[in-house]
């Protein structure tokens, strides 16, 4: 970790400056202390000298007569008086010729000079020696010498205690500053360590979040696959049951027809579910066409009643103007079915489901919708309702309150998507304990409904017109067999191969009138097979059957002229596609989803 933060650098600079100032102050304090001490010392010396001089002067004045008349006894008396003062170490009186007359000294260390020294004061080794003249009326009579005791260390120390205090303070200050500096350093180190730790933790958290996202993805995927498996299982149950019944009583044609209807309906619902998934993965091209919403609801009535079960009363209130919208009819059907299923699950103890359509005019000021006329398709239940938090997230993909295997979490998301694609929006209003209303506001289209019927009418099945040979290549036996039987039923001559290699062998022998290739095959896929097949049999139309989500990938692999038949396809779609191509009228890229 390096210091790059300018604010931090500034702070460190400021800290260093502070420390320098403190050091400077301490040094200045010491200097001032030394100066004061020197001054005090000088003062002390001059004071001591003055004091000694005064004493010497007094002595000089006192002894003048005694010296003059050589009265040693008197001189001794004066000296004895001085000896009382413990500060006096040595005293001497010299006559006018400089010879000592009387001498006193306290110890061997301080003996007065043998000859009278020059008049003056001298300070050395912590003591003062003073020499003063003895004179009377201008007449020089002799000299006195006085020496003080050396000052004790304690007294010197006491005298310099100010400096000592200053020194101690200065060092204390330095100590404090140094401690503070080292503390600051330590804190900076701690900070940088903490920073490094933080970065590490951030990295660790990033990894953890990545892992969490991954696990959430897996959870969502689990939810999705669980839901899909559940739905498919139910559908397969119906289909399986239908075939089981047909196998047991194949002769009861009336019942076989009914059972077949059930099976086909279930299979179609499965196809719808697949389309829902594809729509969700955005690879499904929506087929936006105008249609009447009320008709759609009316057509779904039986399915809805069956879905809701006996405990739920379905009431339908449809507009009478046959309001038209432009949407994907299948998707809208699915949306209504999803809403009905949600409503049913919200009313486990029964209730009422109301589906209504009405025209509503949205004025300016709506946050999402442009002003204009909308068809309000609303589905209301009297179920348990949901909390505002749940309602807010209800349209989020994969959001579900149902357990794993009970829903994909895609239902309301799909509803929302359909509404948006139809130039509108889905809104939810719910109150816990009262119920939920989901409104799909779909842009109202002003088109003649009669004209729509013609457009929306399926083309008639063209069966076996003119006949022809069709090569069917698919590695899955069941699908291949079904396709072959369907084509034979339609009156075509059918060749079949379970791999690309076998198909190419066959093409060596004869070129068919049309080729139907499965896209996803091992070793050599439909697109690769087509490239070779086109060389062997140029001009023969090729149809690709693809269950794969990625339509674009198939188109990219087989080229723009490809005709793609999306799995699962029904007989009508197969018949139409084959017939169109054989007639030479089939344009490229016109698959039918049925």
């Amino acid at each position: 970790m390096t210091w790059r933060d300018p604010a931090v650098a500034d702070r460190r600079l400021a800290d260093r400056r502070l420390i320098n100032v403190a050091w400077g102050s301490a040094v200045a304090l010491l200097a001032i202390g030394a100066l004061l001490a020197a001054r005090a010392e000088i003062e002390h010396r001059s004071q001591a000298a003055r004091a000694a001089e005064v004493q010497a002067d007094i002595l000089a004045a006192s002894v003048s007569a005694a010296l003059s008349f050589d009265d040693r006894a008197a001189m001794h008396e004066y000296l004895n008086a001085l000896q009382v003062n413990k500060a006096v170490a040595a005293v001497a009186v010299y006559n006018v010729s400089g010879q000592p007359v009387v001498v006193f000294h306290r110890g061997a260390a301080s003996s007065p000079p043998a000859r009278a020294p020059a008049v003056g004061s001298h300070f050395s080794e912590r003591h003062v020696s003073v020499t003063r003249p003895v004179a009377e009326r201008g007449q020089r009579l002799g000299t006195v010498y006085l020496e003080t005791q050396p000052e004790s260390w304690a007294s010197t120390l006491a005298r310099h205690s100010g400096l000592a205090v200053l020194t101690v303070l200065a060092f204390l200050l330095l100590g404090v500053v140094s401690a503070a500096a080292s503390q600051l350093g330590a804190r900076a180190r701690l900070l940088s360590e903490a920073n490094a730790r933080l970065l590490e933790e951030m990295a660790a958290r990033g990894k953890a979040e990545e892992a969490l996202r991954q696990s959430q993805k897996m959870e969502a995927l689990g939810q999705l696959t669980g839901g899909i498996a559940h739905d498919f299982n139910n559908l397969l149950q119906v289909v399986h049951g239908a075939f089981e019944l047909i196998r047991r009583k194949p002769d009861d044609t009336a019942k076989v027809a009914a059972w077949s209807e059930n099976g086909i309906a279930a299979a179609e619902r499965g196809a719808s579910l697949t389309r829902q998934l594809l729509a969700f993965s955005r690879s499904q091209k929506l087929e936006l066409r105008p249609f009447v919403v009320a008709d759609l609801i009316a057509d779904m009535h039986d399915l809805l009643v069956r879905t809701l079960g006996p405990d739920i009363v379905l009431s339908v209130s449809l507009d009478e103007v046959r309001a038209t919208v432009r949407s994907d009819r299948t998707q809208l059907e699915l949306a209504v079915l999803n809403l009905a299923i949600n409503a049913r699950d919200a009313m486990p103890n029964g209730g009422r489901l109301t589906i209504s359509t009405a025209i509503r005019t949205i004025g300016p000021g709506d946050p999402v919708l442009d002003p204009g006329a909308y068809v309000d398709l609303s589905v209301a239940d009297t179920g348990e309702g949901m909390s505002p938090e749940v309602a807010e997230r209800a349209f989020d993909p994969f959001f579900t309150t149902k357990g794993v295997g009970q829903g994909t979490g895609l239902g309301l998301s799909q509803v929302y998507g359909v509404a948006r694609q139809a130039g509108g929006i889905a809104r939810i209003a719910s109150q816990p304990g009262v119920g939920t209303v989901v409104s799909l506001l779909l842009r109202h289209l002003t088109v003649d409904p009669e004209a729509i019927e013609v457009i929306a009418a399926p083309a008639p099945i063209i069966a076996g017109e003119g006949g022809g040979t069709v090569l069917v290549v698919d590695d899955e036996a069941a699908v291949r067999t079904l396709a072959c039987e369907a084509l034979e039923l339609l009156g075509y001559h059918v060749l079949e191969a379970d791999s690309a290699a076998k198909a190419l062998d066959m093409l060596d022998a004869v070129c068919p009138d049309l080729m139907l290739f499965d896209y996803a095959m091992p070793l050599m896929n439909g697109a690769e097979l087509a490239r070779v097949a086109r060389l062997r049999c140029p001009g023969v139309p090729i149809v690709f059957a693809s269950g794969y989500a990625d339509t674009e990938q198939v188109e990219a692999a087989v080229g723009g002229e490809a005709t793609i038949l999306r799995k699962p396809f029904n007989m009508d779609a197969l018949a139409r596609t084959v017939a169109n191509l054989l007639r030479g009228a089939g344009g490229p890229g016109s698959p039918s989803g049925g």
Binding site: S68, F69, D70, D71, A74
Partner: protein
């Protein structure tokens, strides 16, 4: 022996001669005692002079408070003699007592020598004590003569007469 005996009194006399002028430093004369501020301070020896050249040697080149020291010898002492210090030895012309009374009341410091058998005492009376030359002081006589004696000198006196 004789030489020693002669030497001792000569040392004593020398000391006494020195004392005569040394006294001047501790005595205050009234201003009228001197004719001028730089007039000489005259030490007179009345009567039989015991000092001889000793006094002249002792006072040679000396001065007291700006007054050069001079020595005069005279047989008779009186008010007009102009002496500030008078060593009264006594002689045929004038006895010690006569000399003292002659200057009584005048600003003259009279000195007598007890060691030489003086019968009367001047203001300062020299004497021998423990082999040393000492002196007693007659402060009352000094007062009468109008001569101030320094307390330092009084402190050294063997006796002080008040």
């Amino acid at each position: 022996m004789l030489a020693q005996a002669q030497a001792e009194p000569s040392l004593e006399l020398a000391v006494k001669a020195t004392y005569l002028y040394k006294l001047a430093a501790f005595v205050n004369w009234p201003a009228q005692a001197f004719a001028a501020p730089n007039a000489p301070l005259t030490i007179c020896v009345q009567g039989a002079d015991p000092f001889g050249p000793l006094l002249d040697q002792a006072t040679n080149g000396q001065a007291v408070a700006g007054h050069p020291v001079a020595v005069r010898r005279l047989a008779r002492l009186d008010v007009g003699s102009g002496c500030q210090i008078a060593f009264v030895a006594g002689g045929a012309a004038q006895s010690q007592a006569e000399a003292l009374s002659a200057v009584a009341g005048s600003p003259v410091l009279t000195v007598t020598d007890g060691g030489r058998g003086a019968t009367v005492k001047g203001i300062v009376h020299l004497l021998l004590a423990a082999g040393k030359v000492r002196f007693s002081i007659d402060a009352a006589q000094a007062d009468r003569n109008g001569v101030g004696i320094s307390s330092k000198l009084l402190a050294l006196a063997v006796t002080v007469k008040r």
